[in-house]
């Protein structure tokens, strides 16, 4: 019991520290990009800015409703099934990959349910479209994870990491890596973590639920992103595998932040995507075919090797 409590405290601390660091990094970059334009920029780049923002959210009077409570709960609960190191996991299932995906989908749908409280149909329809887009970008991730499962023959994330003791999966699955990375970048854009929400005027929902509710939606957005980066890390970049003499946990953190910083920079370097047609065409012409081809190739190899014993 004490061990579990210790683990819970560790996970909450790690999650909180990551939230702080991630919001600090995005704020810093935004401030740098905004040139030196008065106090807003200097304020946003300070070390205490993420903390001050939390106080700003809390200063508004807001009644937490049922949906927001659930979002808050699941944003933390997802880390119970996702391992952050070889033994930092509370519920160690043999199929925790599926459990993680389930939690991810639940958080997204809860956000949609939370948005349905709005009086404006337009805002709701926009958020619904955004949700559909996010789920559409999740399909390539599913294809790629299926290929990873075929390669590693495991549904447990810990085993997938253990399989990569010699070579990282990115060597076997370069196409899958690109597809998942692109998908995460588009998630990043759609969630609007780095800048204004790309879907026009859907930030009005944020205005409506200003206060603690907005903080919760923000945390859920970060959770989705962290989850996807951790998945990418575990799938393709070796997770907490030790590299020569460098500690596995340190490698995991390093890789996490390298991916995160590259995502921020790419997000800033590319324009905001606000056309649904364009998003659909990216998914239809690039991500889905690539991940599907990758899956088919993997399947053929799997069959040749394991069923017909040819390779």
């Amino acid at each position: 019991m004490v061990i579990i409590l210790k683990k819970v405290i560790y996970i909450i601390l790690i999650f909180g520290a990551n939230l702080y660091l991630a919001s600090f990094l995005t704020g810093k970059l935004n401030a740098k990009m905004d040139l030196a334009r008065g106090y807003v920029a200097t304020k946003a780049s300070g070390l205490s800015y993420p903390v001050i923002r939390i106080f700003r959210f809390l200063s508004k009077d807001h009644k937490v409703n049922f949906w927001e409570f659930l979002i808050f709960f699941f944003s933390f609960a997802i880390w119970a099934v996702i391992p952050l190191s070889s033994n930092l996991i509370i519920v160690d299932l043999d199929y925790n990959l599926l459990a993680g995906f389930l939690f991810y989908v639940i958080i997204i749908f809860l956000n949609l349910a939370n948005a349905s409280r709005t009086e404006h149909n337009y805002i709701y329809s926009n958020i619904a479209k955004k949700t559909v887009q996010i789920l559409a970008f999740f399909v390539p991730v599913l294809f790629c994870s299926a290929s990873i499962v075929l390669v590693n023959r495991a549904l447990s994330l810990g085993e997938i990491v253990n399989f990569q003791y010699q070579y990282w999966n990115v060597i076997y699955q370069p196409l899958g890596f690109i597809a998942v990375f692109a998908s995460i970048l588009l998630h990043f854009k759609l969630l609007g973590i780095n800048s204004k929400n790309p879907i026009l005027y859907s930030e009005n929902i944020d205005k409506e639920v200003f206060g603690f509710g907005r903080l919760i939606t923000r945390i859920s957005n970060y959770t989705i992103l962290f989850f996807l980066i951790v998945i990418l890390n575990i799938f393709y970049l070796g997770g907490w595998q030790q590299l020569f003499f460098v500690n596995g946990e340190i490698m995991f953190t390093l890789k996490f932040y390298i991916v995160f910083v590259i995502l921020i920079l790419l997000d800033k370097a590319t324009p905001r995507l606000s056309s649904y047609d364009y998003l659909v065409s990216i998914n239809g012409r690039f991500l889905l075919p690539m991940s599907a081809v990758n899956f088919l190739i993997t399947l053929v190899f799997f069959m040749l090797r394991n069923i017909y014993n040819l390779v």
Partner: protein, 502 residues
């Protein structure tokens, strides 16, 4: 021979054209017009209300006039009577005409009724006349989407009310009331000397142009011949302001589309232009540089060297910005086929400047009129083809290069003269007289109608081009998608200073 050919292509000898138009006016509308006189490079006709419809029909349908553009309608009071000014121009015959109608009613509701009658007459020939009277606003119960100014990227002076069907806009209403400032008080019956420094705020993205227009009007009134060196320096500064305005436009478009890299690069280049402007004029936004018959300060060798040195860097950097922006398929895909309008609509709504040129209509006062020394300088007028947002951006990039070319030509061949002080402002005294002058500012044709009495301005009517672009925006938005509202508005380059005035 070559010169005649050149004049044939570029109708720069305006006086010949205006004389022809005057003769035609006398021939066709002799009985209908009370009086017609030439004010500077434009014509002012005094018309009675009863004959207005016949005059408008003749002006619109007769190929000798072929008036297509309704620039502006405004109401003003002068010497105890109320007048209505209708400003129209023709692209094909390249002239501009003002109709002045005196309202006979006593102040109050009857006067308003009379004004609305006039608007209704103009509406028969020009659809856009409805914008000059008070329109019923789209109330919140009829509009399902309202975009308030803090949430519109790139604009802070307008609220937009939209009636939508799913994603498509069916009707749009743009409200600029939040930016309305009572600015008439400070220039009616103000001293000319004091007013000079105020005028530039009517266009804060390109502050030199209202000043220039104001001074040109008074110079025309006094028949002053301005020195060549003065004209050249004025042209240098105004072209630098044109570049700065277009860079602001590009930065604005990038901000709307969330392209932060190009946004910052464009602002940095604007900073470079601003530094040159600051060096020459001593100020960035409100230059207060032009004087009647002259300029405030001459250029010395050091400043000239600085201008020359900054030009190649500017060309290089801007071409890089253009490559970064227009080689990006996300950007071009977003701009292409959005906000399209046809030529006739644009002309009817009175749009001028790059917005009109993006439709392939070649109408630039720098070529069409005898404006400063532009006829001695070789430059092209960039034209678009389809009139969508992409064309508007491309035309502006083209104009930046042409402006750099103009500045380069003038800077290397600046006439060596000693600038003389031609007039003493404190000793000026005019009889009551009126004057019109117009100039090609970065948004379009900027026009000022002045009434001067003794040492003061008794009336001043500013006709900015952004207002017409705003009318067109309402028209264009219908049929577009909700996501494109900001892009369409951004591509029209609206300047708040001109709109606030009305």
């Amino acid at each position: 021979m070559a010169k005649e050919l050149y004049d044939g292509i570029y109708s720069s000898h305006k006086l010949v054209f205006i004389e022809r138009v005057e003769k035609n006016l006398e021939f066709y509308l002799k009985n209908k017009i009370v009086q017609s006189k030439r004010l500077g490079q434009e014509i002012l006709c005094i018309v009675s209300k009863e004959n207005l419809q016949d005059v408008l029909r003749e002006l619109r349908d007769n190929p000798e006039f072929n008036v297509q553009i309704l620039n502006n309608i405004s109401k003003y009071q002068s010497r105890g009577a109320t007048h209505v000014l209708i400003n129209m121009s023709s692209v094909i015959n390249s002239f501009s005409l003002l109709l002045k109608i005196e309202l006979s009613g006593s102040p109050g509701p009857s006067l308003n009724r009379e004004y609305i009658e006039i608007i209704n007459i103009v509406k028969i020939y020009f659809e856009s006349a409805i914008f000059y009277k008070e329109r019923p606003a789209l109330e919140s119960k009829y509009s399902d989407v309202t975009m308030f100014s803090p949430f519109i990227d790139g604009f802070d002076f307008l609220d937009i009310y939209l009636l939508t069907n799913d994603d498509t806009i069916e009707k749009a209403y743009i409200d600029t009331n939040i930016a309305r400032v009572v600015s008439e008080d400070f220039y009616i019956n103000a001293d000319i000397e004091k007013l000079l420094s105020y005028v530039s705020r009517f266009d804060y993205t390109a502050g030199i142009f209202p000043e220039l227009c104001f001074c040109i009007a008074l110079e025309e009134l006094m028949q002053i011949k301005v020195q060549k060196r003065v004209q050249s320096i004025r042209m240098i500064v105004s072209e630098l302001f044109r570049i700065s305005n277009h860079l602001h436009f590009i930065a604005n478009i990038c901000k709307i589309m969330g392209n932060d890299t190009v946004y910052n690069l464009a602002l940095l280049e604007r900073e470079r232009v601003f530094r040159v402007i600051e060096l020459v004029t001593g100020s960035r936004i409100n230059p207060n540089f032009v004087r009647i018959g002259g300029i405030r300060k001459d250029l010395n060798e050091e400043k000239l060297k600085n201008i020359k040195e900054s030009l190649p860097t500017l060309t290089l950097k801007i071409s890089r910005i253009e490559t970064m922006l227009l080689d990006n398929s996300i950007i071009t895909g977003r701009l292409r086929n959005i906000g399209i309008t046809d030529r006739n609509t644009a002309l009817e709504y009175g749009v001028t400047g790059p917005n009109l040129r993006s439709l392939g209509i070649r109408y630039d006062l720098r070529k069409n009129r005898n404006l400063m020394l532009y006829k001695d300088i070789s430059f092209l007028v960039p034209l678009g083809k389809y009139g969508d947002c992409l064309d508007r951006v491309e035309v502006r990039f083209g104009e930046i290069y042409q402006s750099i070319k103009i500045v380069e030509q003038i800077a290397y061949e600046l006439p060596q003269e000693h600038i003389k002080k031609l007039i003493n402002l404190s000793e000026l005294e005019f009889p009551f007289s009126s004057m019109i002058s117009s100039i090609e500012c970065p948004h379009g044709v900027f026009k000022i109608y002045l009434e001067v009495n003794k040492n003061t301005i008794s009336n001043m009517i500013l006709m900015g081009p952004s207002r017409n672009s705003l009318f067109l925006a309402e028209k264009i938005l219908e049929g577009n998608r909700l996501e494109d509202v900001e892009v369409v508005l951004g591509s029209l380059d609206l300047s708040c200073g001109e709109i606030v005035r009305f």
